[in-house]
Structures are given as C-alpha cells and as structure tokens.
C-alpha cells in the first residue's frame, strides 16, 4: 500500500516568451520583421553554399533579367480574400467573392518576396497555398521578362539543431497534456474533468491503474482553461451579479487545479479564451487568480508558447493560435503538417504580426525556434493526432495535436522514456 510518485527534473525555458522589460512606445512591427529577416538570413546564407554552391546570392535590387541567382527574403502572400480593415470603410460594394467560412485562400493568391532593398513577385515552382506571410526563405531562379521572379527551387531553414535525447533510462515517466478544459462552458462536462483529476492523482482505479498513475510526473494544461460567457464581456459596466458569474469559472477551476497541485506538478498556459492578454506571447496568468492552487510549489503558471525540459527532454507547445491561424491562410492535409512546417521554417508563428496578434518586440523575434524540441504540442485542436518527424541531422520530434478536452474528453499521455504517446480518454456511458 502506498506508492511514491515518480519524480523528474523540470527546467522552465519560458524567458524568451516573457515580455518582461519590453515597453510599448508606439513602435510598429517593422522591428520584428527586421529582426526576423536578419536572423534567418544569416542562417540561410550559411546553408546556401551547401544547397546551391554554384549560384550567386544577391538582393532583390540586384536582380537582372535572365541571371540565375539565389535571393533571400521575407515572403508576403497577397490574398484577395484576406479581410482588410479598410474594406469596411470603402463605400463601394466589393466585387470580391464571398469568403469561405474559415479559410481565406483563393486561387489567385500569389507570393511576394521582399528584403530591405525591394520586392519581387514570385512565380514558377513555388506553391502559394503552402506558404504564408512572414516566412523567410531562400529561392533560386531568375527574373522573367514580365518582372516576375521565376522560381526553380525553394530552401527553408529546416529543422533546428536538437539537443541530444537523454539516454533511455528504462523507467516510464508520463506527461499528461490537456487543453480546452473550458470550465464554465455549456459544452464542458465537469464529471469528465473530475475523472481526469481522480485518475492522474491516483484515486481512481485498482492498484494496477494507480501504479500506472503514479508514473505521471507532470500535467500541462495547454490553454482555454475557462470560458467566460461572451455576453458578459461586452465592454459594458458589469452588474454585481455578473461579477460573480464572471469569476465563478475561475474559482471552480482553482478548486479543481488545487486537487491536482496537491498531488503532482502542473503547468497552466493561457489560451485564447482565458483572461490573459490577447497578443502572443501570452503572459502567464497571475497567481492571484488561483489562490488555492498557487499555494503549492507544484503549481506553475506559464506563458503561452511554453518551453520546458523534463529530464532533458525538451517540450515546446502553444495553445493553438499559431496553427489555427496557419489554417486560415494556408492549406495542409492535417494540423500536424502545419506544425511540421513551423518547425521547418524555424518559426513558431510566422503570421504573428500580420494576422496573429503579437507584441511589437524591437530587439528580437521570440518565435524564432533556435533549438528543436523533442516534443512539440499544440492545444485546442479538434482531434488527437500525433506523428514523429525526422530531421536531416537525425532530429526526432514528436508532434502532438492536443484535442479540446471539453468536447472530446481526451487528454494525451506521453512517455518520456521513448516519446511514445497515447490517448487518455474519459467516457461517460450512463
């Protein structure tokens, strides 16, 4: 009787996502693009000699008709369906066809490559649906007579280097990933969450199940912990009873989280529906929201892109905004492919200042992925998907789409030993 919970080392790597001392002085987003271009171009320049050793590298301004060369720059995707604020003010009715409900793509979309010197329209062997605004790539081709740049080949940065995967210890240690609890929403079933709590803390099940549960070393809640009724958040002054209604989900969440925190370490990340800042990187929810659970040393409130190491296995995850936004402006066969692309582009949220809210950093681009994670997860997706991708330098990355718990009742368990993962489902068959 009595099982001691397995432990593991935790290192938080969230500093890059903290706004910290950055101040907003009315600066625009050009700094972040500049920082990105500068960083990525250095990287790409170092890769080009291996990729196309025989071609010169030049800037957009130096292009000459018929001369094959490599240019590096930031992509801009021109999309006729992309909603623009100005459209709302134009008096004339738009001739643009109606937008599909959740995607702004159109067959007429085209890409533009730009650097400090100028911009050029891309055509040829580059497929617009795969790309979005904000990526830095190197392209090989030549200027055509029409002023377009005829692309022959494209190079993206590729998977970043990865720290060595720790030697297999032979001991199973599990990490549970949950997202989209939506406490307080009509779709969420509190009983399922209660079961989750009881399972991972080891109340539920027989000895075998409890032994299994004792190997869970960490729980990560990837965004959308609560759902506050939209009706209340209309910018009007609130009646006193509405205050209660607004805080009720958070209070309930605190009670539930404190039950977990009493048993094992947990990280919470803010998501789009949480009472955090809207723009990425979302800063950690203040502990005063969770008076009960924050009194435990196991409770950690983290930023939204969240990076940490458990026993030297590196995790990187978001609450889903980056992939959801890619889904609006580009096309892929599944969400995992979007995730894979962001890794290959070495950028967590390429659409960030453009269509995704983002803090206007001046010195750096926090979403640049310097080091390849072993586990890359994205929260608040429709269903559980997972895959392992391999990089050219032997990197192995486990990609995980964490489904919305409130809708599916599914959490994800990942074994740190071999980064295998499986679904942890909670079914009510009453």
């Amino acid at each position: 009787m009595g099982i001691e919970r397995v432990q593991c080392d935790y290192v938080s790597l969230d500093e890059t996502f903290e706004i910290g001392k950055e101040k907003y002085h009315g600066q625009q987003y050009c700094h972040i693009y500049f920082a990105r271009l500068h960083l990525m171009r250095t990287l790409l320049y170092s890769l080009v000699p291996h990729w196309k050793p025989n071609f010169p590298v030049c800037t957009v301004l130096e292009l000459e008709e018929g001369k094959e060369c490599v240019i590096v720059g930031t992509l801009y995707k021109h999309m006729k369906l992309k909603p623009r604020v100005l459209d709302e003010y134009s008096k004339q009715k738009s001739v643009v066809p109606l937008v599909k409900p959740h995607n702004f793509m159109h067959s007429d979309d085209y890409l533009v490559l730009e650097d400090e010197s100028g911009r050029v329209k891309l055509s040829g062997n580059i497929i617009p649906p795969e790309y979005v605004t904000g990526i830095v790539v190197a392209v090989l081709g030549k200027e055509s007579g029409a002023g377009d740049f005829l692309v022959q080949d494209v190079l993206d940065a590729g998977l970043p280097p990865q720290i060595e995967f720790p030697l297999k210890s032979g001991e199973d240690k599990y990490v549970v990933l949950v997202s989209g609890l939506s406490v307080g929403s009509s779709t969420s079933n509190p009983l399922q969450f209660q079961l989750l709590i009881d399972h991972i803390t080891g109340h539920l099940g027989d000895e075998k199940a409890q032994l299994f549960a004792s190997k869970i070393v960490q729980v990560v809640f990837a965004g959308n912990l609560v759902e506050i009724p939209h009706r209340i958040l209309n910018g009007q002054n609130l009646a006193s009873e509405d205050f209660a209604r607004m805080s009720e989900p958070i209070r309930e969440l605190d009670i539930l989280l404190s039950q977990i925190a009493a048993g094992l370490p947990l990280d919470i990340m803010p998501g789009p529906s949480d009472p955090a800042n809207f723009s990425l990187p979302q800063q950690s929810l203040h502990e005063c929201l969770f008076p009960g659970s924050s009194s435990y040393n196991t409770f950690r409130s983290c930023t939204n892109p969240h990076c940490f190491e458990l026993d030297n296995v590196r995790f990187l995850g978001t609450s889903g905004q980056n992939v959801d936004d890619l889904d609006k402006y580009s096309d892929a066969k599944d969400k995992l492919e979007f995730m894979e692309r962001t890794l290959r582009w070495r950028h967590l949220a390429p659409t960030a200042p453009n269509t995704l809210g983002c803090f206007p950093f001046t010195e750096r681009d926090p979403f640049f992925i310097e080091s390849c994670p072993h586990v890359y997860f994205v929260g608040n997706q429709d269903k559980f998907e997972t895959r392992i991708i391999k990089g050219s330098e032997g990197q192995l990355v486990r990609l995980i789409c964490v489904p919305k718990f409130s809708e599916t009742g599914v959490a994800v368990m990942l074994n740190l030993r071999d980064i295998e993962c499986h679904a942890l489902s909670f079914t009510l068959d009453l």
Binding site: I3, R5, N189, P190, G205, A213, G263, G292, S295, F426
Partner: protein
C-alpha cells in the same frame, strides 16, 4: 480499524442513498468518513453486493481499449452496461464502484455535485488548515515533494501528510484531525437534509392545496415566505424530491410539515395581531379568533389561510362594529365546510382515481380541526343550507381540470397577498394605537411593534401552535368566519374550486361586499 467501521458505514450509505437521494461516490465517502479512497471503494463494493435492487450503481472501468491506436480509457458505466463495456477493453481492466445512487441523473454531471460541494467546503476552510483536499492523504500515491505555502510567507511542507498516507503513522494524525471534520461534515449533512425535508413538506402541502399545476407557484411563494429558513442546497434537490414527495405525501409527512412550517410562516401574521390586541380590546377577541381559525386551517393550507386571514383582519378592524353581525352571518357556513370536506373526502374515495394520500390526509386534518370547532359551535349555528352549498362546490370542484386551473391563479394571488401582507400589517398596527385615553385625548402611539413581535414571537408561537386548536374551539365567532367566506364563495364562484380553495376567494369577495 477500517474493518470495524465498515458496517456502520454501510448503514449510513443506505440511508443517504435511499432517503436523501444523494449520490454517494467513493470520493465523497472517502472524504466524509475519513478513509482512504481505496477503502471507500471497497466499502461501496461491499454495499453493492449486499444490496441488490433499488439501487443504481455506476462503475468506473479503466484499462487499455482494443483499438489499433493505444488508448487508455477511463469509463463510467451503469450496472447493466458493465459486461458490454468490459468487452471493449483489452485484457483485464479495473472495475470498481464509482458511485451508488437511487437513480441515474439525466445529466451525468450531477453525479459529482455532492462531491464538488464537499470539495468546495473543504476548499473554503482557512488556508492554514490542512484538510484531506489539500494534502491528499487518502490517495494511494504520495508525493513528498509537494509543499504548500500558508499565509504567503511561511512554507509548510505537506510532505509529512502525504507520506503519512502511506504508513501507519498517518492514520494517527488523521484520526486526530478527523473528529472535527467529521462533525463539520455531519452538520453539513444536516443542513443538506433540512432543506430537503422542508421542500418535501412544502410540496406535500402544496399538493393538498392545489394540484400539480399549482405546485411551482406555491413552492415559490413558500420559499419567499420562508426566507428565514436556510435553504442552502435545496435547489439541487428539488427536482429529485418532486416525484418522491408527490408520491409519498403521507399523513406523517403532512403533519410534520404542518407543525414545522406553520410556525415559521404564521408567526409574522399572528404576532402583529397579538401585539396590536392590547390596544384594542374589543377587536382582540375577533382577531384572536381569526388567528385561531388560521392556525387551525394552517395545518391544511398555510398559504391560502394566511392570505385570507390578512384580509379578514383588515375588515375586522375597519368595521369593528359590524363585525359581530358579520361573524354571525359568516359563521354559519363553518359547519358546512367541515361536512363538505368530509363529504368531499368520501366522494373522493368513491369516485376518484385522483385521490392521493395527500388529499386524504389533508382533509382528515381539516375535518379534525373542523370537527373540533363544530362541537363548540354547533349550538350557535344552523347547518342546513350551508351544507348543501358546500357540498355542491366540492362536487363541482372535483373535476380535476377545473381544479388545476383555479389553483394556478390562486397560487399567484397568494404570493402577492403574502408580499403585501408584510408591509400592510405594520401600518395596521400603528392605526390601532390611535385611541382615546382616559383624559379624552386622542393618543397616537407609534410603536415599533415589529421588534416587539420578534421578541414575543417565541412564546406566542409555541403557545399558539399548541393551543391553537383549543383556542379555536373556544372562540366561537372566529371559527365561523372562514367558513362564511367559503360559503360566499360557494354561492358565487363555488363551481370552480374544491373545498380547500374556496375560503380564499370567499374572503376577497366578502371583503368587497362589505366595503
């Protein structure tokens, strides 16, 4: 020690499940009785084995599913689906009792309500208290690395407790802490229990007064009246109780309800009168009589009676001179009422599929009360006409649909009247204090009688409730009034209603008549 405890547990579980209709989950059990989660599950298992039938059991299965992608599933299933669900699991899955309850709630989330309320309760305790929610001492898995900050600055390591859960040492510490907690839990239970009863009573009464349609309204009105009563968890239980209370509505519950509730309800009305009485001696008698009538009737219908009593009182005060006449006139119907009620009762039995226990019991009460009055008043009152009239109305009233219709509006009216009653009564009191003293001066005394009444309440209430019947018997004129009203009703609007309801409307009508 756990072993020895088990039997008492089982006993209590049964009462919780079948009487209080509570969902007893292992988690709740564990926290409530301070045993480990595994022990609680074992107890529930034992309980289920001993008890076959009348219970719904929810099992928790956990194990790997037979799907091509590995999927560890935790599943709640009801007893009948258990075998089928087990098929879906790969190899052996763990099967344990999750909860035991009288019926499966429509919304599965209800299963955890009791548990969550309990967790909330524990959560609200001051942060310096280490309770079972905060340190997980009942969990099999311990984590000695968890620490908890208390009051911001000091850091108390929760490690000992969590460790303690492992060995024998812990049990001691647990037991020490347990006693206060269990008490707290008990008190909580009681609180939980009370509202249930109250509501049941309310319902049984309401059943008596009106039929099902009127239930809601009446409940509401009663709830409003009885804000004084704590109704913490009442809301949740209402749905469950409804069916049961309706079904049960036994004599016992009815009487119980009458005794308990009326005390709370009636005092406010009665006290006003009593206080005011000293000032106006002549009216005293009448008001008292009325009150007694009320109290007598209260057993049957709190709502309607109160309302009617208020109205009457007003009338009495305004036209104190005429009162006696009225009383005489009105009084006559009283008899018929009783008889009619008896009649109706018989009728009900004969005719009806409708007659429920409630109805009978109610009428029994009534008839008893009225018989008492009857005996006293027989000398005074002529019976004949009234009887016929009332019997008429009762007969007509029987068609259930009509009853329903008539009930609903009444209930609403009652509500209003109740609300009105409170503000009105103080005014009346002040007016009463205006009088001519020995020197021939008009003296207007403005006294805060509300406070007095509150002070006086306890005494008077008790006396009144106990004595009310005897009083009612003694004071002839008073008892007569309500019947008079009913009589009036019978003549005019009698067709619509059953015997019970007539008095209220009668009051209204009679009041306007007089004016």
């Amino acid at each position: 020690m756990a072993q020895t405890k088990t039997p008492t547990f089982i006993h209590e579980i049964e009462s919780l499940v079948s009487d209080k209709l509570q969902v007893v989950s292992y988690q709740w059990l564990s926290r409530n009785y301070m045993v480990s989660a595994n022990e609680a599950k074992r107890v529930l298992q034992e309980f289920v084995q001993k008890h076959d039938g009348g219970l719904e059991v929810v099992y928790a299965l956990s194990g790997w599913l037979k799907s091509k992608d590995p999927n560890y599933d935790i599943r709640l299933v009801t007893g009948p689906k258990l075998a089928e669900a087990q098929q879906e699991f790969d190899g052996d899955c763990s099967v344990q009792v999750y909860s035991v309850q009288a019926s499966i709630p429509k919304d599965p989330a209800m299963l955890r309500n009791a548990e969550f309320v309990q967790a909330e309760e524990l959560f609200k305790q001051p942060s310096s208290v280490d309770n079972c929610l905060r340190d997980y001492r009942f969990c099999e898995i311990s984590n000695s690395f968890v620490t908890r900050k208390v009051d911001g600055s000091t850091v108390v390591s929760a490690a000992p407790q969590s460790k303690s859960a492992v060995g024998e040492g812990p049990t001691k510490s647990n037991t020490v802490q347990k006693s206060p907690k269990s008490i707290a839990h008990d008190s909580i239970d009681k609180v939980d229990a009370k509202p249930q009863n109250v509501i049941k009573e309310a319902k049984s009464e309401s059943n008596g007064v009106g039929n099902t349609v009127a239930l809601d309204n009446i409940n509401k009105s009663i709830a409003e009246k009885e804000k004084a009563l704590p109704l913490p968890t009442g809301k949740k239980k209402v749905p469950a109780d409804k069916s049961v209370s309706v079904a049960r509505g036994s004599l016992a519950s009815f009487w119980g309800g009458a005794s308990a509730k009326p005390k709370h309800c009636t005092p406010s009305v009665e006290y006003n009168n009593t206080v005011s009485n000293p000032a106006v001696s002549t009216e005293n008698v009448q008001t008292a009589c009325e009150e007694e009538c009320d109290s007598g009737i209260d057993d049957n219908q709190i709502v309607s009676v109160r309302r009617s009593s208020n109205r009457k009182r007003r009338v009495v005060f305004d036209f104190s001179d005429e009162d006696e006449d009225d009383v005489v006139n009105l009084a006559s119907p009283d008899f018929p009422n009783k008889q009619s009620s008896q009649d109706s009762r018989q009728d009900d039995k004969n005719t009806s599929e409708k007659t429920t226990l409630n109805f009978d019991s109610q009428e029994e009460n009534k008839s008893r009360v009225k018989e008492e009055r009857e005996t006293d008043q027989k000398a005074h009152l002529p019976l004949g006409d009234n009887v016929s009239a009332i019997s008429k109305c009762t007969n007509t009233g029987k068609s259930s649909s009509e009853k329903l219709q008539s009930c609903a509006p009444e209930a609403r009216v009652n509500k209003d009247s109740v609300n009105n009653a409170a503000p009105c009564s103080p005014k009346r009191r002040k007016v009463m204090k205006t009088r001519i003293d020995e020197r021939g001066r008009e003296v207007v005394e403005v006294v805060w009688e509300g406070e007095e009444t509150e002070v006086k309440k306890p005494d008077k209430v008790t006396t009144k409730n106990t004595d009310s019947k005897t009083n009612a018997a003694n004071s002839a004129p008073v008892t007569k009034k309500p019947p008079a009203n009913s009589h009036a009703n019978n003549g005019k609007g009698g067709n619509k209603k059953g015997g019970n309801k007539d008095p209220k409307q009668g009051n209204l009508l009679s009041f306007f008549k007089k004016v």
